[in-house]
Amino acid sequence: MLEAIGVDSVGEIFDRQIPAAVRLDRELELPEGLPEQDVYEHLRALAARNTSAEEELCFLGAGMYDHYVPAVVDMLCERSEFLTPYTPYQPEVSQGTLQVMFEYQTAICELTGLPVSNASVYEGPSAVAAAAYMAKLHNGRRRLVASAGLHPHSLETLRTHAHGYGMEVVEVPLTSGSAGGVTDPDAWAEAIDGQASAAIFAQPNFYGAVEDATALSQAAKAGADPLVVAQVDPIVLGILAPPGECGVDVAVGEGQPLGNRLDFGGPSFGFFAAREEYLRRIPGRIAGETVDVDGRRGFVLTLQTREQHIRRERATSNICTAQALNALAAIVYLSWLGRRGIVELGQLLLARTHYARQALAGLDGVSLQHEQPVIREFALRLDADVAAVKRRCARQGVNPGVDVHALSGRPEDSGVLLVAITERRSREQIDRLVDVLAAAVAAERRSTSEAVGV
């Protein structure tokens, strides 16, 4: 090889191209390489120091959920033909990936009730930021009105990105009192003025409450007519009115519940669906149908003139590599669930969540944080330190939910526990949660009152 190249050594190839001053003159300080079995053992040992949803009764949610991922999803996603190609730049040999994108887009349109979808973005919170950027490109206004019911990570991600593209984020509080827990309609209407580029809410919101999406959309439209953006939990759309029917312009969200594993937070995918008029502004890849020279049906990446590799600084987004494999998992999962399955699953979540909420709210020292309708997740207020209660539950092999204050940092979230139910959590397991939480809250209250000498 060297002779054909015209050098005496591999080192010479580098010597002739890289100035000596910027060559590394030592070995990297990294551990020695290991054989496969030793690497596996090391990775297994690290995994063993994590308590996964396999090893405890997990009621954690807040954006990612311990749903069952069917075996067929793993089997198809592990196929070399889906796992190892890149973006379908050569459509003649990428019909598998392209058709998967097309099918995925169809399923997202069906779920959201909106006519167009892209082939995925990174994940939920940055999808919200992507929708806001689209709003800026669409109407050029400077302000983003965002409900405090958005996931705290969505709000923070939105702020980070908005600072970049020069927009201000105005947060609309939730209602309090007996009708509390949803976006305050008066504050919402007031915040949406002529500078509002997008009005953004979550459905259901971060605290599990189902928002009146139609009323929020109508109020926004009656105001200064910004883009109405909803961050939606896709798995409840079998029973919850789709955003497209509620007047929403752009529906985005975290796709993990649809056949993707937890993976400590990623990779999953974000979905992005919109009304027809935004088709040429939406970010990311889109697969479209066409024919080949013999008239055979086929699929290609389309509307690429929106994209960074063509449009460069005038692109609708900088996104390039997105989440194709995770979107494949989603379309396989949705096909596995099927039209009836997604309704039945939604009903099951609704019934079990309601059962769990009633039982838990009846405990001493536990009350509802809000009384709004919920589908798969709900917020409780504990009359005890949430972190301490969680530690007590953990000793019993139960993870009762998310310590909301630790996540949001908001003072008003102190004492709030967010509990998520999936189809993996049976009534028997919910009953166990009730017992364990009851004991933990009682013990924690006892120990606190003893400590203060009451």
Partner: protein, 514 residues
């Protein structure tokens, strides 16, 4: 590995293949929505186990969906057959050579998939209490350390979702750094060879991109840089080696000019596979680097993701890194550090694409220091071997190397002479390569090279594969000299033939009609 290349037919048109359309070509594309039958299903819902309640009480009718979404209705066998059949309509790295320039299509060891699928990684909830996710946090902390050492920049955030998200993080960091010093700078310099993500990112970060010219050697035109580098420049974004496969020999001077006007130097890590263990961005003078773990550290590309785009920075940029960071406390335990007052904030939910981090970490553990260096050396050696093969007579006069004589991990050929003399375009060559069983290189990029072909073989490939690829190119050029119509009509042996992209964009159909 290779599909047979069809021989040209007597009428100047190549036959579709020896026996007419292949079975995959005969199969008309039908989506999953066009299969199955009403009520068919794979999923079995658990039976109700809680007391029945009035649905209206649980979820008022006005919030409820009236008609179920029209999802597919198929059995599990139908589902499996549909997607397995579809998968066979893909070309993939496990089946053949995939020299897609700037994408680093290197082998994906299956160990990584097995390790990432362990329940302790795959079923770990991101909001698990940190005390009970110590293995994950330690893995992240160790990976941060390894990436710091590889890049020569000490502070790492693993949060960005992919390369372009890493770029956005980098430009936002630069902005935060200047703003913190009370400066508003508006311009970002980027060479005309830059990836499209660079200028797109600059716009999303609210800054304006200014293009730099390329000099005769393929590097940054230093005179142009001197003219454009002023105190309104926030940053220079550079890929080194760049998208031409050229290592910029003037990098120290470039860094001095950029730092001289108070700007930062940003390293697009897309081409890191050329220099691991051999040269470090931090030592070249870069302040911020993003990695593409799916490229250099061999995450499977998945048909277009997922990826992962960690960033590393120098001391002066570190205060602005996204939060949270993984830190090791004095007692040796690991934690997520949220209290970072100067941080640009979050770029996404949770902690980044952890599943990708597991794979990248496994790769680094497998290779170690010398293995990483060997990988880069082999990648560069392979690229130069293939380049030497393509510089031979019969090829080089039609596909000359655009810049330089040697290359780093990739090189760019110009199809200009081929187009003029053989009457076939780079696109035709690419499509004809499909009939030879190869994935084509990146085409028509970088933009400043006429009819560009950007070839990145990676360290994965054997000499035999590289030689076979060079022979295929030579054969296509010889065939074109006889009859350009063959390449113009290619491909012939693929599941579909050339597709009408114009029609697809004119009247977009982007979902199945139901």
């Amino acid at each position: 590995m290779n599909l047979p290349a069809p021989s040209p037919g007597g009428d100047g048109r190549a036959p579709a293949s020896a026996g007419g359309p292949s079975p995959l070509q005969r199969e008309r594309a039908r989506t999953i929505f066009q299969k199955g039958a009403t009520s068919r299903r794979a999923f079995q819902c658990p039976p109700p186990d809680v007391p029945e309640a009035d649905p209206d009480e649980l979820l008022p009718a006005r919030f409820r969906r009236r008609e179920p979404p029209r999802l597919p209705e198929v059995s599990e066998p139908e589902l499996v057959r549909h997607y397995v059949t579809l998968s066979k309509r893909n070309f993939d790295l496990d089946s053949g050579f995939y020299p897609l320039g700037s994408c680093t299509m290197k082998h994906n060891p299956r160990l990584h998939e097995r390790a990432a699928a362990l329940a302790g990684h795959a079923r770990l909830h991101p909001l698990q209490d940190p005390e009970r996710a110590q293995g994950a946090l330690e893995l992240m902390w160790r990976l941060q350390g390894a990436l710091a050492e590889i890049s020569g920049l000490p502070h790492v955030s693993l949060q960005p979702s992919a390369g372009s998200a890493g770029e956005l993080a980098g430009v936002l960091l630069t902005r935060a750094y200047h703003e913190d010093r009370g400066e508003q700078r508006h311009k970002v310099l980027a060479p005309d060879t830059a990836h499209g993500t660079n200028p797109a990112t600059v716009s999303m970060a609210g800054l304006e991109v200014v293009k730099l010219a390329t000099d005769a050697e393929g590097g940054v035109d230093v005179d142009d840089l001197r003219v454009k580098a002023d105190t309104d420049v926030a940053c220079l974004m550079l890929t080194n080696p760049n998208t031409l496969g050229v290592f910029d020999a003037n990098i120290e001077e470039i860094a001095a000019i950029v730092h001289g006007v108070g700007a930062t130097l940003y390293y697009d890590g897309a081409n890191l596979n050329a220099v691991m263990g051999l040269s470090r961005p931090g030592d070249m003078g870069f302040d911020i680097v993003h990695f593409n773990l799916h490229k250099s550290f061999t995450q499977p590309h998945g048909g277009g993701g997922p990826g992962s785009g960690p960033i590393a920075t120098s001391e002066r940029i570190a205060p602005y890194l996204p939060r949270p960071l993984v830190v090791r406390r004095e007692d040796g335990s690991f934690a997520l550090e949220h209290q970072r007052p100067k941080s640009i904030g979050r770029l996404r939910g949770f902690h980044g694409n952890y599943g990708c981090l597991v794979r990248a970490y496994a790769y680094i553990c497998s290779l170690g220091a010398d293995g990483l260096r060997d990988a880069s050396e082999a990648a560069v050696l392979n690229a130069n071997h293939l380049l030497a093969r393509l510089c031979q007579k019969g090829v080089a006069e039609y596909l000359p190397l655009a810049y330089g004589r040697l290359c780093m991990h990739e090189f760019v050929l110009s199809g200009g002479p081929m187009k003029r003399e053989l009457k076939i375009k780079t696109l035709d060559l690419a499509k004809r390569l499909l009939d030879h069983g190869f994935h084509p290189p990146t085409v028509y990029f970088p933009l400043l090279v006429e009819e560009a072909l950007m070839v990145e073989p990676t360290e994965t490939e054997t000499r035999e594969t590289l030689d076979a690829f060079a022979e295929a190119i030579a054969a296509i050029l010889a065939e074109a000299a006889e009859d350009p119509a063959v390449a113009e009509g290619a491909p012939y042996s693929t599941p579909v033939r050339r597709l009408d992209e114009v029609a697809a964009a004119k009247q977009p159909v982007i979902r199945e009609s139901l």
